[in-house]
């Protein structure tokens, strides 16, 4: 994975300068950019030392009204993780960038305290001094005893690898939003609970006071009120008021604007169910009830047992009381859910970013191959709607956008800022209209958005470098809204500046004295409803309206992620937001504030410039759904070059790279790569699939790969055995010992093509005589060899059906199966392979199988290979054409033809299968002689 950086890392600044002086300068596009930190130490990994923690972790902090910012807990909860890293200091940093700025309390003109349902804000920040980069997710929890009823919290994903934070922003944001949503739901529940108790207290207090006044009244016969009586009356009045206030609060918290996510998967922490239960518990749907049960019982178990207390007129001093802990603030069920989720997030994102990217890209590509991906991939985890999940986190914004009425009235002044000064905002509007049209393609688009986004972030890295080299400790990492610039010139279009905060900052710079700080806010996407007026203009609109670069021009399009039900409003809003965006985009350059280096016009940075595996964040070209779409992204060439192909083809890309050199990308282009590789040296390297569900699968793959590697090294007849599997002939592993047989089956299972989406035709261990039905169902079977009479039957059945099966005898190490003379399997399973690790081998197998799938796909979907061109064409000529294609075009030799034919047959079956109706499993076989192989 390390290639170019080696070279770059050891180039000395002086040497390079000398060279440049003495020799005629290389064309700039060929010059090797300087390693920017050369002065800090020759070792590019030295930077790592500055980060005081060993691996990524999640930090939860609170801005306590009593003691200020304080760290609450880290995930993983291990002192070693944070090491010498100053959590207190970092808490201060991350809490100081909270743009959430919620208004809770008495808004002017309102009689009662108003609860605002605040959207979380998401910020990326970096601290070069600490060597820490963080995704920071601010959220507010309600606490009756807190000032303004709110307690600001934040969750931060802290990593030494800024690259990871930037590239995984979307994912992080989505995941953290889910966790936050869960936490907040629990909190609302707890808050409602607390309010109920408080109301009971107040009610009780009122009765007591009332009684007292009555008594006093009776005792008082003088006709005028004593001061005592007046005091009591006042107290009573204030209790009455307090009751009304609290009732109002309770009403508010219960009427929390739930997200009705259309067609969304069920989430255990779905707000509505909980609150429904809190309300009446009547219209909960069945699916939710059982999961929400713990919460429910909790609620009802506690309420009746509560004995109201008398509330003193004078409450304790706020510093005397102990604030509730996070656990106390949240319903326990939801709290543990949240912690689970956070742990999951940590697990998911740990390790090097390249794992994450590769995983995401391969999954995206696989998803594209809707026709063939079932063959060798575990489609079940592809089905998990990652994309959906991804925008769920963001959906809040679009939803919220609907809710927010006030802001709709006020966009005008903001637009004014930029109108005139730069591109007219009108230009962008028509383009953005496309969202309507593209709505139908939404699911597919999502993926591309992510990539685009990553790409954009990628450029941003370059921006940062600029600032890094400037010696400042402030680092602007970027913003979600990065590529919102909508300009005609390509360089501008691809320029992924973070205009929004700047624009904002230019106005409110005085308010937030960020420039003096060693930490800078990099991006925000806060809740629109609560943005201070002057901030709004610069705020990026909903995250989900991430712009991506238009294929044709350098323009931008919007990926619509509309909710069908509020499409209309959405449109309005997006229009309105368009204006906002343009305006922010237009601030580029003009505004570049003092603390920012003028952003170099980087354009698109070619991937290889900074050596480390940087294929990923490529402009992912969306292909049409259907045939082309399903295979569009398929690298059809051998080797890894396929992955780079899109780059090469992308003219924009080339242009971009030229741009890069022109705009003096200069000495800093390598910093990102070095950082990421540096990070990888210290952080936990375990590959972390983005999906929790497939972590086990990942382990399994590793094991299977290892076993397979052992198998091909151990058995000289591995090739015919694998051929049997690939050509759909059931392979039976016969043996006395279950463990050995199962191991072999696991090893070989990676070569078994799936027959359908839901069935993996592998049976690890069977003890009964096999029947023809079994061969239909399973393509790889582990069979017990028994000495008992029953065993005779088993063997008898085997010999009877020998024409359908290949038999691998694990005990005597023999194989009985048809001859294989092809070339494909030898590439797949070379016993002299240099591959050492199971997971690597697994990937190797997968890549070759993917290639095979491509061939099968081509073969299956070439019309003339199967059907006559003209009516009169005889069948033989079609057959000839077919064989020619297989042999010449696809380069298949001998038995390899059968493999592709078998795969093609599976593809056909899968494709023509009527939905809802299972494939009738059929058994295809050949009448071919078998041979016995011995070691």
């Amino acid at each position: 994975m390390i290639s170019a950086p080696d070279v770059v890392a050891f180039t000395r600044e002086e040497e390079l300068e000398d060279e440049l002086c003495s020799e005629p300068p290389l064309p700039e596009e060929y010059s090797v950019p300087l390693f920017p930190f050369a002065s800090h130490g020759a070792n590019p990994w030295a930077k790592v030392a500055s980060s005081k923690f060993t691996r990524d972790f999640i930090l939860i902090s609170e801005f306590s009204e009593q003691v200020g910012p304080q760290p609450l807990l880290t995930i993983p909860d291990d002192a070693k993780v944070s090491g010498t890293f100053d959590l207190n200091y970092f808490s201060l940093r991350i809490m100081s960038v909270d743009y959430q700025a919620s208004f809770v309390g008495h808004p002017p003109g309102s009689a009662y305290p108003k609860l605002n349902f605040v959207e979380d804000s998401k910020v990326v920040l970096g601290d070069s001094k600490e060597g820490a980069f963080a995704y920071v997710h601010h959220l507010t929890l309600y606490d009756l005893e807190a000032r303004g009823f709110v307690r600001p919290f934040c969750m931060a994903y802290i990593s030494a690898d800024e690259h990871k934070i930037m590239q995984q922003f979307q994912e992080l944001s989505a995941e953290f939003s889910k966790a936050s949503e869960c936490l907040k739901t629990g909190n609302r529940k707890a808050f409602a609970n607390e309010l109920e108790k408080k109301l009971k207290d107040l009610d009780y207090t009122r009765t007591v006071l009332h009684n007292e006044t009555e008594i006093q009244k009776k005792a008082n016969d003088k006709g005028y009120y004593t001061t005592q009586a007046i005091e009591k009356a006042n107290e009573l009045a204030s209790v009455e008021k307090s009751i009304i206030e609290h009732q109002d609060l309770l009403k508010q918290i219960r009427s929390y604007p739930y997200r009705k996510l259309k067609g969304s998967d069920f989430h255990p922490y779905e707000p509505e169910c909980v609150l429904d239960q809190a309300n009446a518990g009547c219209d909960q749907d069945l699916a939710t009830s059982d999961l929400a049960e713990p919460g429910e019982t909790h609620l009802y178990a506690h309420v009746p047992s509560y004995t109201p207390k008398l509330i003193k007129a004078k409450s304790a001093k706020c510093f005397d009381k102990k604030l509730k802990t996070l656990e106390e603030l949240c319903d326990i069920y939801f709290f543990s859910q949240t912690l689970d989720q956070l742990h999951q997030i940590e697990r998911t994102f740990r390790g090097d970013v390249c794992y994450l990217l590769t995983d995401q890209i391969s999954r995206a590509l696989l998803k594209q191959q809707s026709v063939t991906n079932f063959l060798f991939e575990d489609v079940s985890f592809l089905d998990e709607k990652t994309s959906e999940k991804r925008h769920r986190g963001c959906q809040g914004f679009s939803q919220d956008a609907v809710d927010r009425k006030g802001s709709e009235e006020s966009p005008a002044p903001k637009v004014v800022i930029s109108l005139g000064s730069y591109k007219s905002s009108v230009e962008c509007v028509p383009i953005k209209m496309e969202q309507e049209i593209e709505d139908s393609q939404e699911p597919k688009m999502t993926e591309s958005v992510t990539f685009e986004h990553q790409e954009n972030l990628d450029y941003l890295d370059a921006d940062i470098k600029g600032s890094i080299s400037s010696g400042e400790s402030i680092e602007v990492l970027g913003t979600e809204k990065s590529a919102s610039g909508l300009t005609k010139s390509e360089s501008q279009a691809s320029l992924p500046v973070s205009p929004s905060p700047q624009a904002g900052r230019s106005k409110v710079g005085s308010r937030r004295t960020v420039s003096e700080d060693s930490i800078e806010v990099l991006s925000t996407c806060p809740s629109e409803s609560l943005i201070p007026e002057d901030f709004k203009a610069s705020y990026p609109s909903a995250i989900n309206e991430e712009p991506y670069v238009d294929d044709e021009e350098g323009g931008l399009r919007f990926t619509p992620k509309l909710n069908p039900d509020n499409a209309d409003e959405q449109e309005d809003i997006s229009k309105q937001e368009n204006l906002v965006q343009v305006d922010s985009a237009c601030c580029i350059g003009k505004e570049s504030p003092s603390f920012l280096e003028p952003l170099p016009d980087l354009g698109q940075k070619p991937c290889d410039e900074d050596g480390v595996v940087r294929i990923p964040p490529q402009p992912y070209r969306q292909v049409e759904p259907g045939l082309r779409g399903s295979f569009g992204g398929f690298p059809s060439h051998d080797g890894i070059s396929g992955g780079l192909l899109p780059y090469e083809l992308d003219s924009r890309y080339l242009a971009g790279s030229r741009e890069v050199s022109k705009n003096s990308l200069d000495e800093c282009s390598d910093s990102t790569s070095y950082i990421s590789s540096a990070a990888s040296t210290c952080s936990d390297r375990t590959p972390s699939p983005a999906h929790p569900a497939c972590q086990a699968a990942e382990r399994h793959k590793k094991k299977a790969g290892q076993n397979a590697l052992r198998f091909i090294r151990q058995y000289p007849f591995a090739h015919p055995a694998i051929y049997s599997l690939l050509s759909g002939r059931t392979l039976i592993v016969l043996g006395e010992e279950e463990a050995i047989v199962k191991k072999l089956v696991t090893a070989l299972s990676i070569f078994v093509p799936n027959c359908g989406v839901y069935t993996k035709p592998v049976k690890h261990w069977v003890t009964f005589p096999l029947h023809v039905v079994d061969f239909q169902k399973w393509k790889l079977i582990g069979l017990q060899r028994m000495v008992s009479p029953g065993g005779v039957n088993v063997l008898h059945a085997l010999s009877r059906y020998s024409r359908y099966v290949s038999i691998l005898d694990a005990d005597s190490k023999t194989l009985r199966c048809p001859l294989y003379k092809g070339t494909l399997v030898s590439r797949l399973a070379d016993h002299r392979t240099q591959i050492k690790r199971g997971s690597t081998y697994y990937m190797h197998v997968q890549s070759i199988l993917t290639q095979l799938c491509a061939k099968a796909f081509l073969f299956t979907f070439c019309h003339h290979l199967h059907l006559p061109i003209s009516e009169r064409e005889p069948e033989e000529s079609v057959v000839n054409r077919r064989m020619n294609f297989l042999k010449l075009q696809l380069g298949l030799a001998n038995e390899d033809v059968k493999i592709v034919q078998y795969l093609a047959e599976l593809l056909k079956l899968q494709y023509i299968q009527e939905p809802g109706q299972g494939v009738n499993p059929l058994l295809r076989f050949d009448y071919v002689p078998s041979f016995l192989y011995k070691i």
Partner: protein, 442 residues
């Protein structure tokens, strides 16, 4: 160790390279009957009748109505072309009922339960639009399931087979006897028939197991003892008989142990089928081809299977399929022997092959032919192994393939893999066109 011919794993001529297992029955499946071009029904000891699509293997209907095992099944399609194709099937069961089913709706049309004994055979006389049920007596029914007439009680054993003969006659096998009945229209105008016993033929020494009509002039019977008698269908006289298929003394090349182990079971004529020239008999484990013209066995395979052959059928392409209790289905081809020593050989022929060699072969053949020279021989072309128990019956669907039913409760559809693959491609491209994926998109 076994004298059964084996073919090995390489079977170039065997077209069946794909199979589909149809599951549904819970007991032995004994009957398969074709309904139309692409549908068939299966029935067996579980009393359930299934309708299947022979192309896709899709289960169309599951007909429940009988409480005991099915003893006979017959298709009963409407005779006149005018009305829409209305396919019915008749099923008789050991619960002494006969049910008429509608194959298009999968419903029970009518049920007759006035039988005194189990109906063992059903025959439809399409020409007269009546159907006959044979048990301990013979009943004649019309389409509306009115009993038109019936014979007196014949025997407790009952009629085991029925076959339609010309001139409104039917032949019924009752034990060792063959009884000819004639249907006579009633005198009154109402559509009614009376049935009259015309003749009893007692030529068989043992129970008649199989009865098949060859053409309008001939029908054939086979008995448990291995007698095969060819009858004239018009005057019911014996035209020819063969009763020593099994007699290995006639065939010198048969090993002695086979002879020793011979029991009546091994010589019984289990099933007969015929084309215009020949009668094909499943006798014990063997298959015999009897030529009607030559009035002798022209080819045989004495141990075609490991155990009794239960069903044989002649395919149009000179092929013969047999299934057996040993669970296998075999495909045979009737081939002509090259040299016929009895015939004068044209000289040109010898020149072509080289005289000496041909002569040698001829001599060899001649030696063999001396006693009972078969002109043809049956060559094993392929075998189908799938069932784990006796294959009771099979149904040849031509291009669509072959359906076999077995005591292992399964039905297997054997298909030509090449053809299926092609059909799937066709479907695929049709579906592509339907989805509009074939048009290039930009």
């Amino acid at each position: 160790k076994s004298s059964v011919q084996t073919i090995g794993e390489e079977q170039i001529q065997n077209p069946y390279t794909e199979l589909l297992v149809l599951k549904g029955h819970q007991d032995i499946v004994r009957f398969l009957v074709q309904i139309d071009d692409c549908r068939f029904a299966s029935a067996g000891d579980d009393g359930i009748i299934f309708l299947w699509n022979a192309q896709t293997g899709e289960k169309l209907f599951e007909l429940h109505g009988h409480t005991h095992k099915i003893t006979a099944i017959a298709p009963f399609s409407s005779s006149d072309a005018s009305e829409e194709k209305n396919n019915l099937i008749l099923t008789a069961s050991a619960d002494r009922t006969v049910i008429v089913w509608d194959c298009t709706s999968g419903r029970q049309v009518q049920k007759v339960s006035c039988f005194h004994s189990t109906v063992k055979c059903l025959t439809v006389l399409q020409r007269l639009d009546v159907w006959l049920s044979g048990g301990s007596d013979l009943c004649v029914w019309n389409r509306k399931l009115d009993l038109l007439c019936k014979t007196s009680h014949l025997t407790d054993a009952g009629i085991s087979a029925l076959v339609e003969l010309p001139k409104n006659c039917v032949a019924a096998a009752v034990g060792k006897e063959l009884i000819i009945f004639r249907l006579i229209p009633s005198n009154d105008e109402s559509e009614g028939w009376s049935v009259l016993e015309v003749k009893r033929l007692v030529d068989h020494q043992d129970n008649i197991l199989s009865l098949v009509s060859v053409n309008d002039l001939t029908f054939v019977t086979g008995s448990h003892m291995g007698e095969l008698i060819v009858w004239d269908a018009l005057d019911w006289t014996k035209q020819a008989s063969e009763c020593n298929f099994w007699d290995s003394s006639v065939h010198p090349d048969v090993q002695p142990e086979i002879k020793l182990s011979q029991s009546p079971n091994e010589t019984s004529v289990q099933h007969l089928t015929s084309d215009e020239e020949c009668v094909f008999a499943a006798v014990g484990k063997g298959i015999y081809v009897y030529n009607l013209q030559m009035k002798r066995v022209i080819a045989c395979q004495r141990t075609a299977h490991d155990s009794s052959v239960l069903h044989i059928e002649k395919l149009p392409n000179r092929q013969l399929i047999s299934c057996s209790e040993d669970g296998s289905v075999r495909i045979w081809e009737l081939r002509e022997k090259q040299q016929l020593p009895a015939e004068p050989v044209p000289t040109g022929f010898f020149n072509m092959w080289g005289f000496g060699r041909a002569n040698k072969q001829a001599n060899q053949a001649a030696k063999k032919m001396q006693e009972n020279p078969p002109v043809y021989f049956l060559e094993l072309v392929g075998d189908l192994i799938g069932h784990s128990s006796a294959v009771q019956m099979f149904l040849y669907f031509g291009e669509l393939g072959l359906a076999t039913c077995s005591a292992d409760h399964l039905i297997i559809l054997w298909k030509d893999g090449e053809r299926e693959s092609r059909l799937r491609s066709l479907t695929l491209f049709q579906k592509l066109a339907q989805n509009g994926d074939l048009q290039p998109k930009f």
